[in-house]
Symmetry: C3
Subunit: 315 residues, 3 copies
């Protein structure tokens, strides 16, 4: 594996899930693999889980880490080609990426969507610029349109908690006071599509995810209808995709509640975190024994470790 930008870069998702579960049992089994190698972690946005779980994953593989917060530790970067750099940006991505990739063996990058310019966001300018101008493998720690480390952790979590042959998975939109990106939703959809699940998405009208990603997955506007018989309910807010980056509603009707969970087949509750309590989901859902959110976060370490291990083995 030479890069990990979306889940599609994983040659075999089933194998990756199994690898993650094995690494969880014996996290230091490959401690030698990162010897004398360095992971550069570049952040253009805040991070808690990703920052710490990826560091931990690196440590468990014997890999050193160097962290760079571009918001306050370095120079403003310019991503446009051919521009006369007379403004705020002191350094062009051509140099920044070329330079940084000489100090590291692998790069991991977080760069969120702007939510103001769909075309630019879909070009994944930050991530793709680093790939173009660096000579080393790049890992996506959440980009404008995808968050594959989260999706792999979610896949591991479902695998660990699933008791039946073909579970029903519901991805439900939820309200949020701020406009959020589509990255987690997109990657979750891509992940479930690769596995043999009964999958349905539910969201209010106008909140449909990118149809190029959802394809022929059923999308319905009745959350209640969708939740019927669900084995796993994955809740997540995202802003409108068609009316790009806009918030169309923030009322509580779509908040996931204990009451709604009763419609399901004793479903497990999932969310990628951070989650706004009593807006996205109620306290009694988040605090119930059926919530997997803490376990999902735990599996972030092993998802990152699977990806780092594959990349190091190729190197």
């Amino acid at each position: 594996m030479k890069q990990f930008l979306t889940l599609d870069d994983l040659p075999n998702l089933h194998q990756a899930i199994s690898d993650g579960i094995l690494l969880k049992k014996d996290p230091y089994a490959f401690e030698y693999i990162g010897n004398r190698k360095t992971l550069g972690m570049l952040f253009f946005n805040p991070s808690l889980r990703t920052r710490l779980s990826t560091q931990r994953a690196a440590q468990q593989l014997g890999l050193k880490t160097m962290i760079m917060n571009f918001s306050n530790e370095s120079w403003n970067l310019e991503f446009e080609d051919g521009i006369r750099m007379g403004g705020l940006s002191s350094e062009h991505i051509k140099e920044a990426a070329g330079v940084v990739s000489q100090y590291c063996d692998v790069l991991a990058i977080r760069a969120f969507a702007s939510l103001t310019d769909k075309e630019k966001d879909e070009q994944e300018i930050v991530l793709n610029s680093f790939i173009k101008y660096s000579n080393i493998p790049v890992i996506n720690m959440e980009s404008a349109t995808s968050h594959p480390l989260q999706a792999l952790a979610d896949a591991i979590t479902i695998k660990e908690n699933n008791l039946i042959k073909r579970p029903k998975i519901v991805l439900s939109w939820a309200p949020h006071p701020k406009a959020l990106p589509h990255a987690v939703g997109n990657s979750f959809v891509r992940m479930v599509k690769q596995l043999d699940f009964n999958f349905i998405i539910t969201n209010p009208e106008g909140y449909e995810l990118d149809p190029k990603i959802t394809g022929d997955i059923p999308i319905i506007n009745s959350q209640k209808e969708a939740l019927k018989g669900a084995d796993f309910v994955y809740v997540k807010n995202w802003s409108s995709y068609s009316n790009y980056g806009k918030i169309l509603r923030t009322d509580e009707e779509w908040m996931l509640t204990k009451e709604k969970m009763k419609i399901t087949n004793n479903a497990k509750f999932m969310h990628c975190l951070p989650v706004r309590r009593n807006i996205v989901a109620s306290d009694d859902v988040l605090d119930s024994d059926d919530s997997l959110v803490i376990e999902q976060a735990n599996n972030r370490t092993f998802a990152a470790q699977v990806v780092l291990k594959r990349i190091l083995e190729n190197g």
Copy 2:
């Protein structure tokens, strides 16, 4: 030892002091003890000594560290239970603590007093929330009401510099242009109370520390009277406790000067740092051979190492 929130968590202060002095002589004697373990250091406030000395202590125990500055690297946290999270906070402590504790083996946390709400500060909400929602040991790197790593370093420093059987220790309030917390004062008092010293506190009226902590220790308003015959003078500003968080005076009358040191029994001068020169104490005091402030800071490493070692041994 399962946690280190106040000095009272140390089963035996005398033993801890001796351990610190031994570790200072042979800092790498237990380099194997932290193998494959990670200390997560979480900062809600600035830090210089604590940040670096605790990292160094961890390194000397073979422990990896991961640092998180909550002010600019992560999400705003919500600490209130049952709240509808529609404001600035993106993540609840329940999730944050639960998640972070999965990536680390020990947590160390710095979270200062607000000085606006005495009741909340005394509840130590940040620290206690992390303890409540994480499953791993928590170390206090200065909380709202105590700074036990500093007090342990101070105890080591007094032990190293004390020549007589029962020295006279004076804790003297000093002026400061900003309202400061009571944490250092509180922990120093708790520490001295456990040792067989002749101890007296002096401060201007209205600046008495929490009487639940000072108990029956003599407190007098005459600094000169207090300094007579002192062997160690510990100077520190704190804001009013009764008139919580308020500054009652900032005049220079209480600044510690060389002149005042002459009243003492050639006392050693102590301060936890950072110190404002010529406000808290004059240059000639800070620059004199009797000042122990640099040595106190040095002992922060070994205080942290004693605590980390005990916690790792229990684990």
Copy 3:
């Protein structure tokens, strides 16, 4: 070697260049040398290359690193002696340096010029205060008046790319929208003066570097004249030295272009980065095969490693 403040601290520049080239071939040859030692990296300004290359250099020597961003992680420092600290600064450099040097074995410090007070900048107050009040070796990661790690990396790069006995080196001023320090220019001049090169500086009138540094090196105001027959062209902006810190012109006349490179003897193009494209130099220069800028940045690792190794060997 006890400190590395300017290139003059290197006992033998030729040897240092050779050492750097050897370390580049076998970066882990001295992995044992930093065992149980810690490099403290203190930043008062942004940093990308220096931050990462110095960390990497340390790792390749088996040295641990601790990083401190003074702008947002610690207290404001006071550098003036005898002052009554009633303002914004919470800690004096006397304490800060004394304390920090106890937690580290080597310090590396970045502290840029103010460009408002020439005398203060030339006193190198930050760097010299750390030297004065700490007891450990100090490395300059770019100070007010010099950037010797960059110059050493540049020397290595020239050595690697030079084919003739006595190449012609041109240091050319270039325009920039912001006032920049003289550190890189100064150190480049100091470096070239130690080597047997044909060296000329070109800049617009009023932009002469400190004559105490340039000495008898020819300085001409015709960029075209200077570029004739050049083997290496080093381009860099700096603000006026005589009219200290001022920008006298920002027009494009002095931008380095492909057209101008034709005057040279197929010269290699050099710049320390970050570089503003199409202001300092045009895209076609930066993107040409003759550009060494990425290689210069790569050599920063080995320059830092040479310096760290010498300092550790002395220790």
